[in-house]
């Protein structure tokens, strides 16, 4: 099409091209989000309705007191995340955040392994005094009580 398009049609063509691209973007986004968004689980939810093995999800709760164990390589730790109803064992290889400790809240990003152990790629802990991982704010009253008990 090397001829200039007719006057009335050009604007229409441009609008159509833009619309098609934007709709394509929206559809692409919707499709990609369905497969790539990572969902947040509490331990009880993970126990009742486990995500597929290998799907990226996040797991949030309290780090159980006395559960952090370091493996022989010095850089892998194992611990248990609990919400008072269920316990999920977690394995993490890396440098833990400064405020990651037992009996306080944490969110682990990673995948569930076929052995039931959650393999975390990343840990989010309290960032400063005021920061609580967003999902933890919405814990139910029972979970909050549990949290207080565990912390004592």
């Amino acid at each position: 099409m090397s001829q200039p398009i007719k006057a009335k049609h050009q604007r229409l063509v441009l609008v159509l091209v833009a619309l098609v691209a934007l709709i394509a973007a929206a559809l692409l986004a919707a499709w990609a989000l369905r497969s790539q968004a990572s969902f947040f689980y509490l331990p009880a939810e993970m126990a009742a309705n486990p995500p597929e093995v290998g799907r990226a999800v996040r797991l949030g709760g309290m780090v159980e007191a006395g559960s952090i164990k370091r493996e022989a390589d010095g850089v892998t730790i194992r611990f248990v995340i609990t919400d008072g109803k269920a316990r999920v064992p977690v394995r993490f290889r890396g440098i833990v955040p400064d405020l990651f400790k037992e009996a306080s809240g944490a969110v682990a990003e990673g995948k569930r392994g076929s052995d039931g152990v959650f393999v975390a790629d990343n840990l989010l802990a309290k960032h400063d005094e005021k920061y609580v991982p967003r999902e933890m704010k919405d814990m139910t009253a029972g979970q909050a009580r549990e949290r207080v008990e565990v912390t004592k």
């Binding site: 691209a21 934007l22 986004a29 989000l33 790539q36 990572s38 947040f40 390589d73 919405d138």
Partner: protein, 647 residues
């Protein structure tokens, strides 16, 4: 005393903004209204007053005047002066005051210098600018007063978040804000042009320096912010697709599209309605960004001045401003007549493609950023990360980059691909060769495509200079070439980082040796050291690149006491071909220390590319402004001569 002066100046500035709005509106309704003469001076004085208010806040912070609540909450007498100074905008109220300051000063400059456009258009533009400012004044004065008093006056301040105690704080937020708010001028110009039906090449030329300026600052702000997060957060990554990062990327994408469509409008009088629409969208994205960052509605690692209750106020402002602008657009879009036509093989068409792809990318980022909010209202908690953003944006960005190689070589209006086909042979061959070589090394698809494209693009970007005498090439062309070349450089850095980075996580005893890539490191010691408001454990590593003389690396694990918090200070060794990045972790029971090391070949190209892009923008801006000034001088001379001749 100074705090009171600051507050008074702020109130006065707000009153002047109201006067500016009313005056502009009345003058538009009834031409010849004497209020028309008031609008420009008012805009200038308003800018000066709010600047005075900001200066007062900075002084209060530098003096650590604890009777001001904001200082008491965010500062500390033992903090280094640089952070007292920069801390004045490292919090919610201060950052909003900075926002309004830049906005009002930009309005003042428009009032002072812009003489090309018809006077009604300027009045409408300044009225629109004051309409937006007024909302933010109301927000400051009623919901987040930076000068409110502490009662009782505390003995000591609470300090500044240690992650912010970095020289970066002095530059990064103001740079980004100048970019965000510079787009408000583009927004006001767009609204002004719509209201007075003056969407024309003159309007595009008046708006272009503002878009360019805002875009340069956004580019610098993003580049700098990325590097800051890279070395401060200690995760070895330079982009996390975090909501706060996306909040700065979205206005940049819109501004990039706007920048290109403004050029089409200025040069060819085409893409009129589209340019106006982009002007509205770009500033809307700035406001969406501010809302996301300030409200804390999305979890982010970079958000520091967060207050959810105030998010609603910004959301309301956002709705009012965007709603009003879109209403005006809907009412007036039909009166914007169609621009000049062009063929599908033309520079215009390439720029349209660029615009559509940028807008598509913007859509992908916007949807991905807001999806967690949407999902939450449906009862699911979701986070969206690189597995979504990387491939989804690549689908739009990669084709755009291909067209970016071709577009600048095409002529306006109509051209044939045959004419430039031979020129493109070199970049094409280069890209193909890179694909073959890299594919043999088993590199993943996206980094592979990125590296291959970067190779071709780097050559193609320079081609508009072919066959020209370099001394006669105008500054805007140099700017474009440099910016496009910068994109290729940054792309090479991004793709190179994900293709070649090696990471090592070890537990090492003092005295042990660690190898990573071509580096061999000796772990010498760990010792406690003390800073002005922190203590730290500092590790010492002697790093040697392929047998060369060792470089000392000193990663720290810092403990601040006000507020009490730990941070990891990474250590970097920079060579021309990459960076070695070291983080010191904690000590295990058996005495070994955790060390996390990355060798990142060519990672520095990312930020070098960003700087080149910004520098290209600066050259283009200088070129445009210089020719504007020349034109003004010429017009003045003609007028003067006519006056002398007694006409």
């Amino acid at each position: 005393m100074i705090a009171t002066l600051g507050l008074a100046a702020l109130w006065l500035a707000a009153a002047l903004a109201a006067l500016q709005l009313v005056g502009g509106a009345l003058a538009l309704r009834a031409p010849g209204n004497p209020l028309a003469a008031v609008v420009r001076p008012v805009a200038m004085v308003q800018g000066m007053l709010v600047a005075l208010s900001m200066i007062c806040l900075v002084i209060v912070f530098c003096q650590t005047d604890l009777s001001v609540e904001l200082v008491a909450k965010n500062s500390h007498s033992a903090k280094p002066l640089l952070y007292k100074f920069a801390g004045s905008w490292g919090n919610h109220e201060g950052s909003m005051l900075l926002w309004v300051t830049i906005m009002a000063m930009a309005g003042g400059v428009v009032a002072l210098v812009e003489r090309r456009l018809p006077e009604p258009t300027i009045l409408a533009t300044l009225a629109a600018q004051s309409f937006v400012s007024l909302g933010f004044y109301a927000f400051l004065l009623f919901a987040s007063n930076p000068f409110s008093r502490a009662n009782p006056v505390p003995a000591e301040g609470q300090g500044l978040n240690p992650l912010l105690q970095d020289p970066g704080l002095a530059f990064h937020p103001p740079t980004l804000y100048i970019g965000y708010v510079g787009l408000s001028v583009a927004f006001s110009f767009a609204v002004g042009a719509l209201l007075t039906r003056q969407v024309s090449p003159v309007f595009a030329r008046a708006m272009r320096p503002w878009v360019l300026g805002a875009w340069i600052f956004l580019t610098l702000g993003i580049t700098f912010g990325s590097y800051w997060a890279y070395y401060e957060l200690g995760w070895g990554g330079w982009w996390f697709w975090d909501p706060v990062e996306n909040a700065s990327l979205m206005p940049w994408l819109a501004a990039t599209a706007l920048l290109h469509s403004v050029s089409v409008l200025a040069a060819r009088n085409a893409l009129r309605a589209w340019t106006v629409m982009l002007g509205v969208v770009a500033f809307s994205m700035s406001m969406v960004g501010t809302f996301l960052v300030r409200s804390g509605i999305l979890t982010s690692v970079h958000a520091f001045a967060v207050d959810p209750t105030r998010g609603q106020f910004i959301l309301a402002l956002l709705a009012i401003n965007i709603g009003a602008a879109l209403t005006i657009f809907a009412l007036r879009a039909a009166t914007v007549t169609e621009g000049e036509r062009f063929a599908i093989n033309s520079r215009e068409a390439a720029l349209v493609f660029n615009n559509v792809m940028l807008t598509g990318t913007l859509g992908i980022v916007l949807i991905g950023t807001l999806y967690p909010l949407l999902a939450e209202t449906l009862g699911a908690q979701v986070s969206v990360g690189p597995p979504y953003f990387n491939p989804a944006t690549a689908i739009f960005v990669l084709p755009m980059l291909v067209v970016m190689a071709v577009g600048p070589l095409l002529r306006w209006r109509r051209d044939s691909l045959g004419r430039i086909g031979r020129m493109l042979l070199v970049p094409l061959v280069l890209t193909a060769a890179a694909v073959v070589v890299l594919a043999r090394q088993g590199i993943n698809l996206l980094p592979l495509l990125g590296l291959a494209l970067a190779a071709g693009l780097a050559v193609a970007a320079l081609m508009p200079l072919l066959g020209r005498r370099l001394r006669t090439v105008k500054l805007p062309l140099w700017g474009m070439v440099l910016a496009h070349f910068g994109i290729a450089v940054a792309l090479a850095g991004m793709a190179g980082d994900s293709a070649f980075t090696t990471e090592k996580l070890v537990a090492a005893r003092v005295g042990e040796k660690v190898e990573i890539g071509p580096w061999s490191l000796k772990f010498e010691k760990v010792e406690p050291i003390a800073g002005p408001n922190w203590t730290a454990l500092q590790g010492t590593l002697k790093a040697s690149y392929a047998g060369a003389a060792p470089i000392k690396l000193e990663p720290q694990s810092r403990a601040f006491w006000s507020p009490p918090q730990q941070t990891n200070e990474s250590a970097l060794a920079t060579r021309w071909n990459g960076q070695l990045y070291a983080v010191l972790g904690e000590q295990a029971e058996d005495g070994r220390w955790q060390l996390r090391l990355w060798w990142k070949p060519f990672v520095t190209l990312i930020w070098l590319g960003g700087m080149l892009v910004a520098l290209g923008g600066l050259l283009a801006l200088l070129g445009r402004v210089a020719s504007d000034i020349r034109r003004l001088v010429a017009v003045d001379k003609i007028a003067y001569r006519r006056m002398r001749q007694g006409r």
